[in-house]
Symmetry: C2
Subunit: 338 residues, 2 copies
DNA sequence: CTGAAAGCGCTTACAG
DNA sequence: CTGAAAGCGCTTACAG
C-alpha cells in the first residue's frame, strides 16, 4: 500500500499524493487550506505529509502563482540604536502579517545600496523598504519606484518625491526642545552635532524657528557640526566648551550625539542638568538610563518602524492608492538633563 | 526584425532570446558568464537584456538547479547593541560572499523562534544562523540541525552539542575583569546583573575562578541578579548600594548592565572610576563614549559576527567537515571606570 | 469533491 | 559554439 520509503531526496507534493492516494492537485489544495476538499481526504493528506516529513517549497509555489512573501528592508546604519529600534518595529509588523524580511545594511554606502536593492529585486521581493544612505541621489528613489514593486522610504525624505514615506516631524521636535531651553531662561542655546543632509536641515529649521519665535538672533557660531555619532557628540561638546564657555544649553542632533556630549561633560566634571542643559532627539531606549537620564524629543522609533511597515502593507493591498505618508508626532520628554 | 514591443509583462529569458536571435539556453549561459558563448553573441544578448529591462528571476533559477542564495539569521534581541553589532558583522560577511540575508528577530520568544526557523526552511535557505532565545530547549537545535541545512549557532551555546558554534570566552573574560579589580586592591568585588542561563553560568564561573585564584571566598550576597539590560543594571546597582555599602567594585554581566549601573551611580553623585570601580563586558561601540568611558572586556562583537558567518560559509562548502567552532578571545580594555 | 494538464522562468545534460 | 528538450516543485484553470 504505502509507497516504499524513499531514499534521501526532497519530498514533494507528488510523494505526499502517492502516500495519500490522491492527485497532487488535491495535496496542493489541502495544503493551502482550501474548503473544496472533503475533511476526510484532507486529514489523510495531512498525515501523509507529516509522516513523510514534507516541507513546503515556497519558492516553487511563488514561481507558479503565488506572490512572494519576502520584503526587503535596507537600513543605513544598524549600529545606531535608533535604526535598530525602527527595524525591530518593521520586522515585527511584517512577520505578523506573514512576511519574511530580507535585510540589508548599507553602512551609508551608496554603491552597496544599489547592489542590495537590485538583489532584492531579483529575489522578487513583494515590497521594498528603504532608509536612504546619506548621499543617495534622488534618482535612485525614482528608479527603484519605477520597478513597480511596492516601495516605501522611511526616516530620510529626499526632497519632494511621490514615493510613500514614513518619518517624523523633525522640525517641530527641535522647535519644542529649543523652546523648552529658551523658556527655562537660557539666553543662548546651541545646536550640537549632525552634518548637512535633509534631516539635518529640518532639525536646524526647527531650531531657527524657535529662536525667531522668541526674537533671538540665529548665530552660526552656536551650531557645532559633527558626525551624528557618539564620537561626534563628544568632539562637538569639547569644541563648544572651548569656544563658547558661556553657553550653558544645547539641543543635540540626536540621542547618540547627546550621549557623546554627556561623556565630554563628565570628563570636565560637569553634570548635565545642573551644569549644562542638554536635549536629545529620538528617545531611544538607552536614554532612560543614561548618566544622567536624558531629556529628549520622543519620536517613538519602534512605532515609526511599525507605521512604515503598515504603509508598505497597505500599498501592497492597494497598489493604486494615493500617496501614503506618515509623519510621527514629536513630543517633549523631560528627564534629568534639562 | 525586432520582436514587437511587449506590453507590461515580466520580461523573461525567452524575450531576450527572441530579441537577440538566439535560444534561451544561450541567454542563460551568457547571463551566468559562461565562457562557452562567443564574445560577439554574448554582447548581443547582454544588450538585448539591457534594452528590454530584463531582471533575472533568482527564485526560478534556484528551483531548477541553483542553490539558494539566502541565509536565514535569527537574532534574539536586536535592541541590545551587542547583537546589532554582531548582526552587522554577519551581514557584511554574507553579502560579501554573494548571499542575501533573511533576518528574523525573536525578542526571546521561543514560540516565535520556532515559526521563523520553519519559515526559513520553507524559503529553502542555504543556511541558518541562530542565537537561541533564552529558554530554547536543546531539542530545537537538534531538530533544526537534522533538517540538513548548514546551521550555525552563535553567542549562546546550549550545553554540549554537535552543532557548529561561534562565541567568546566568557569565563576567561570575567576572570580577567575580576582579577583586575582584585589586583587593584579591592577586598571585595561584586557581580552585577544577568539571570540564570548558559552564558550567565560561564561568566559567573570566571568570577568564581578569579576569587579562588586569590583565595577569596565566594559569597552569594555579592552577586546581584537582574535582567541583562540597562534597567536591570540600574536596579541591581541600587540594590548593591543599599545592601552592601562597603562594596566598591563590581564586574557587570555585560556593557548595557554597566550603563544602567553608571546611571544609578550618577544619581547618587558617585562617579565610576573614582568612587566605584566598574567593569563591563562585550565592548560595544557605545562604551568608548559613555559617561565615563567604560572599562570592559573586549570580545569584539563585529568580529564575532564575521567569524560566525565564516563558519556557516565553510560548512556550506564542506558539508562533511568536522565540527566547526570559534571561541573569540576576551581581552581587558581599560578606560576610566576601573 | 477530485484529477489531468499546462505552465511559472529558469538550468542542465545532450546533441550537433 | 549553440539549440531542443526535459524538468525543478508548485498552482491554476478546466473537466468531470
Amino acid at each position: 500500500m504505502a509507497t516504499p520509503p524513499k531514499i534521501a531526496r526532497t519530498i514533494t507534493i507528488v510523494d505526499v499524493a502517492a502516500e495519500a492516494n490522491v492527485s497532487k492537485s488535491t495535496v496542493s489544495l489541502v495544503l493551502k487550506g482550501s474548503p473544496l476538499i472533503k475533511g476526510e481526504t484532507a486529514d489523510r493528506v495531512r498525515s501523509a505529509a507529516l509522516k513523510l516529513g514534507y516541507v513546503y517549497n515556497r519558492r516553487a509555489g511563488e514561481l507558479r502563482g503565488n506572490a512572494s512573501n519576502a520584503i526587503g528592508v535596507v537600513i543605513n546604519d544598524l549600529m545606531n540604536p535608533f535604526f535598530a529600534e525602527v527595524l525591530v518595529g518593521i520586522e515585527r509588523k511584517l512577520v505578523d502579517a506573514g512576511y519574511v524580511v530580507l535585510m540589508a545594511h548599507t553602512g551609508e554606502d551608496v554603491g552597496l545600496q544599489d547592489k542590495v536593492l537590485q538583489s532584492m529585486r531579483e529575489q522578487n521581493a513583494a515590497g521594498i523598504m528603504l532608509c536612504p544612505a546619506l548621499k543617495t541621489p534622488r534618482s535612485v528613489l525614482k528608479s527603484t519606484q519605477d520597478w513597480g514593486i511596492p516601495f516605501t522610504v522611511f526616516v530620510r525624505n529626499l526632497g519632494i518625491g511621490s514615493y510613500d514615506f514614513a518619518g517624523s516631524d523633525s522640525e517641530e521636535g527641535v522647535y519644542l526642545a529649543t523652546t523648552h531651553l529658551l523658556n527655562a531662561g537660557h539666553a543662548e542655546v546651541g545646536f550640537l552635532g549632525g552634518q548637512k543632509g535633509v534631516v539635518f536641515t529640518q532639525r536646524l529649521a526647527g531650531y531657527k524657528k524657535a529662536l525667531q519665535a522668541k526674537r533671538r538672533a540665529f548665530s552660526g557660531d552656536l551650531v557645532f557640526y559633527a558626525n551624528p555619532s557618539r564620537e561626534g557628540g563628544y568632539e562637538a561638546m569639547n569644541t563648544l566648551l572651548g569656544q563658547s564657555p558661556k553657553l550653558k544649553a544645547a539641543v543635540c542632533y540626536n540621542d547618540i550625539v547627546a550621549f557623546g556630549a554627556l561623556s565630554a561633560l563628565g570628563e570636565k566634571g560637569l553634570r548635565a542638568g545642573t551644569d549644562f542643559a542638554l536635549m536629545g532627539f529620538d528617545n531611544i531606549l538607552d536614554t532612560a538610563h543614561s548618566n544622567p537620564p536624558l531629556s529628549t524629543v520622543d519620536i517613538n522609533p519602534k512605532e515609526l518602524g511599525e507605521q512604515a511597515a503598515s504603509i508598505l502593507l497597505k500599498r501592497i493591498r492597494e497598489p493604486d492608492a494615493e500617496r501614503l505618508v506618515y509623519i510621527g508626532q514629536a513630543t517633549l520628554l523631560l528627564r534629568q538633563t534639562a
